[in-house]
């Protein structure tokens, strides 16, 4: 066996150019696929981050049953303490408390039903984009501010501008009717029509005071550092939540935004199609090179067979050569792939014109792909399998070879 192995290895290096070409085919395949895969994975990630980053966050802690039936009285008591504890977790980028109610928002000419959200000006920016996308006026600077911010679609529907007064009418914590008149401090454009049309924000302190809520909230919104470790972070969060209050639940973004997964996947489906097409193309290239590498040596094989070796040995030789070549190609390809991904990971990858267009909607314009076990293992395994399948036919041809045919160069 050792003999076969070293023969195979030496064979490879006796024909450096052929070896280089074959290995290069595999390496290129790996490089292209890992780059493609890394970009796809990252852009999927970015899409989720962008969507959850607008308002919903990666996780929310809520009272059990609040998500399906949001009643004012389903509060999280001692919510500040919970927020602080969660903030301490290293995987958490930001934590913020919110209180929510549904009511009537009226301007001088119009009224619309909308969600009224009490936010913490100090922390809201760490879980939501909205403070950063104010197009008129400014966001709240402190919990003592007295005013309201709303989306630009709602502002347009209400026919109001900065400084105008809006009236809020809703049901308070104890069931009574509450009403507030507040000046518009800021108008935001989040990029989501639903949010720009459906909600208004006031400082949490103001919300608690006027809705008659004790020091409580309805949700703690969380943003994590690394979305790929969702389950791990979720478990850590759950531990704290359960020790705090058994009536609370931890909801991940998939529960908070159920349609998101579907729509993103559908959008990305074209990318996956290209990926599969690429896999097909590179597999064929590999098959091609293996085939040629073997068939060009028919005379050589003929000699070996004529000297007495059995075709089984020859086949094994070819297979082992192929195996070494594949490994070589995989390693090289992974290195190259890491280089390319790393390069674009630094400078960012984008399509012509895409950046300016996306900036208009406050969406990230460049993709910074990352080298990760996930994004590399899949392409590498695919190429490995493709290589082995590609080896099958040439190996079969060798198996069927006899000395005479070989010596004659393969023709009968």
């Amino acid at each position: 066996m050792i003999v076969t192995l070293s023969m195979a290895w030496r064979n490879l290096w006796r024909h450096p150019r052929r070896t280089a070409l074959t290995a290069a085919a595999i390496a290129l395949a790996v490089m292209v696929l890992t780059f493609f895969f890394s970009v796809q994975v990252k852009s999927y990630d970015m899409a989720i981050n962008a969507s959850t980053g607008i308002f919903h966050g990666h996780f929310q802690i809520q009272r059990e049953g609040y998500l399906d039936d949001p009643e004012m009285r389903k509060i999280i008591p001692s919510v500040n303490q919970l927020r602080n504890e969660l903030k301490k977790l290293p995987q958490i980028l930001g934590a913020s408390v919110r209180a929510m109610g549904f009511g009537l928002v009226s301007s001088a000419d119009r009224s619309y039903g909308a969600q009224i959200v009490g936010v913490e000006p100090e922390f809201e920016g760490s879980v939501s984009n909205i403070p950063g996308v104010v197009i008129a006026g400014s966001y709240f600077s402190s919990n003592e501010d007295v005013g309201i911010v709303l989306g630009e679609v709602l502002a347009r529907n209400l026919r109001v501008k900065l400084g105008d007064e809006l009236t809020l009418m809703a049901q308070g914590y104890d069931g009574g009717s509450v009403a507030l008149a507040l000046p518009i401090l800021g108008i935001f454009q989040s990029g989501s029509a639903d949010i720009d049309r459906g909600l208004v924000q006031i400082p949490l302190g103001l919300f608690q005071e006027f809705f008659g809520m004790p020091e409580a909230g309805h949700a703690v919104v969380l943003r994590v550092l690394d979305r790929s470790k969702l389950e791990e972070v979720g478990a850590a969060i759950n531990k704290i939540v359960e020790s705090n209050n058994r009536q609370l639940v931890t909801l991940d973004w998939m529960k908070l935004m159920p349609g998101l997964n579907e729509s993103i996947e559908l959008d990305m489906s074209a990318g996956w199609f290209f990926y599969i097409a690429l896999v097909g193309i590179v597999s064929f290239t590999i098959l091609n090179t293996f085939l040629m590498a073997v068939l060009e040596r028919t005379k050589e094989f003929g000699i070996i067979l004529a000297v007495g070796a059995r075709s089984g040995l020859l086949t094994r030789l070819v297979l082992i050569e192929g195996f070494f070549l594949t490994i070589l190609g995989l390693i090289f390809g992974a290195l190259l792939g890491a280089l390319v991904v790393g390069y674009f990971g630094e400078i960012g990858f984008t399509a012509p014109g895409a950046e300016e267009v996306l900036k208009k909607w406050n969406l990230p314009g460049r993709i910074y792909p990352e080298v990760s076990v996930a994004s590399f293992s899949s392409p590498m395994i695919t190429v490995l399998i493709a290589s082995f399948i590609a080896l099958a036919y040439p190996a079969y041809r060798v198996l069927k070879l006899d000395a005479l045919t070989g010596l004659r160069g393969g023709q009968r």
Binding site: V32, L266, V282, L295, A351, G353
Partner: protein, 411 residues
């Protein structure tokens, strides 16, 4: 001149004598060309498809409203259906299809819940081929005539309202004089859509029913237009705006700016992916040729020993490459044409979205042929292929014939 002819003959004969090598290289090239051509058609089709898909929900290519409606979509801001003169002017302006609708915000209530919705009053015949709704009804039936009293709601709205098909819901809204009106409507059909927000947001009813209920007589909220090619929407809208100055005519890009932007971005990325594919294909082609040349060092040595000049060797190899490339490209184009005919049935992408068992809808892509793209693919690959073979040919020509034959050369 004569030597070119001889070289050509040599080239062809050498190719035909080494069938396997030739076939393999040929296969690499033709499959490469086929993939390039098909993928470019696919990418273009995808790009068109994305725009069409977004538009097909309800946007159409061009929309017409009364001035001010877009800022304040109420029954008050409706306009009279266009008269014959205007209609024929529109048709000559490139309008293929036109559908009139009532569209106003309302609240739908059931025994237990209420939800904000948009009422869309339609003429089912006008809508078919115009928007998604004619094929989207999965339970019950689509309304067939504009005076039917029933409504068609989205599947997710049934869940939100905690109601079922066959039950009555009450819809509250404001009529043409801004007075609050309400009426009970029976759910006769349930539609499904790719996005739950579409299912939750729209309730369809017959346009005549809506007009009578809202006191609109024959007025409508919007007219939706389909023209021949979605890409011409903006110039066509401008032209139509001149025919109908009393109304607000907009292309879909103005109505759905976010989708316009996303489509542009998507297109940009498709170009990049496609280039990557071309790189992969080119490599495959060059690889095949390189291999075949390097394997024949001995052969070249013999030829040179027999008197072939180095420059002629390059020409010989170049010609072989050219012949095999041309044949391969032609083959690839033929295969591509076959593949195109097959894909023309539509490629179902929903299989790639893992959560899509719930989607009643397939995201179907039709390939789109563009002469420019096709020419580009062919030329690119041909050029790359020839260039790719010249370098090793040059290397081969530098060999010492004796070393080449004895196999002790650079191989």
């Amino acid at each position: 001149m004569k030597s070119i002819g001889v070289l050509l003959v040599l080239a062809v004969r050498s190719l035909s004598r080494n069938k396997i090598r030739t076939l393999i290289t040929l296969a690499a090239i033709s499959l490469g060309v086929m993939s390039a051509v098909l993928l470019s058609a696919f990418a273009k089709g995808l790009s068109y498809g994305m725009a069409e898909n977004a538009i097909k929900t309800l946007t159409g290519h061009i929309q017409i409203h009364a001035h001010g409606y877009l800022d304040d979509p109420s029954a008050e801001l409706s306009f009279s259906e266009l008269n014959q003169k205007d209609l024929s002017a529109l048709k000559s302006g490139g309008v293929e299809k036109i559908a009139f609708r009532i569209r106003i915000p309302a609240v739908a209530t059931s025994e237990r819940e209420s939800a904000g919705v948009t009422i869309v009053g339609i003429d089912p015949q006008q809508e078919s081929g115009m928007s998604f709704i004619s094929d989207a009804v999965r339970q019950g039936e689509m309304i067939r005539n504009p005076a039917e009293p029933g409504v068609v709601v989205g599947k997710d709205l049934l869940r939100v309202l905690k109601t079922e098909i066959g039950r009555r819901i009450v819809i509250i809204t404001q009529d043409a004089t801004n007075k609050i009106v309400d009426r009970g409507f029976r759910i006769v059909g349930v539609f499904e859509s790719e996005l739950k927000s579409t299912e939750k947001g729209f309730i369809f009813m017959g346009i005549a029913t809506a007009q009578e209920w809202l006191g609109l007589k024959d007025k409508v909220s919007e007219a939706v237009i389909r023209i021949e090619s979605v890409k011409d929407s903006r110039p066509a809208a401008k032209k139509l705006g001149e025919i109908l100055p009393q109304l607000d005519v907009r292309p879909w890009q103005d109505i759905e700016p976010l989708i316009t932007s996303l489509t542009q971005v998507h297109d940009g990325f498709l170009v990049i992916w496609f280039l990557i594919v071309i790189v992969a294909i080119s490599f495959g082609v060059i690889n095949a040729q390189l291999m075949s040349i390097f394997e024949r060092t001995r052969e070249f040595g013999v030829l040179m020993a027999l008197g072939l000049k180095p420059k002629q060797l390059i020409v010989l190899v170049g010609m072989e490459a050219a012949v095999i490339l041309i044949v391969g490209t032609v083959l690839g184009d033929m295969l591509g044409a076959l593949g195109y005919a097959y894909l023309n049935r539509g490629l179902d992408l929903s299989g790639f979205a893992s959560a899509s068992e719930h989607l009643g809808f397939a995201r179907i892509v039709y390939p789109h042929f563009s002469l420019f793209d096709w020419t580009l693919c062919n030329v690119l690959l041909l050029v790359i292929g020839i260039l790719g073979s010249l370098y090793p040919a040059y290397l081969a020509s530098r060999l010492n014939p004796v070393e080449a034959i004895s196999g002790r050369g650079k191989e």
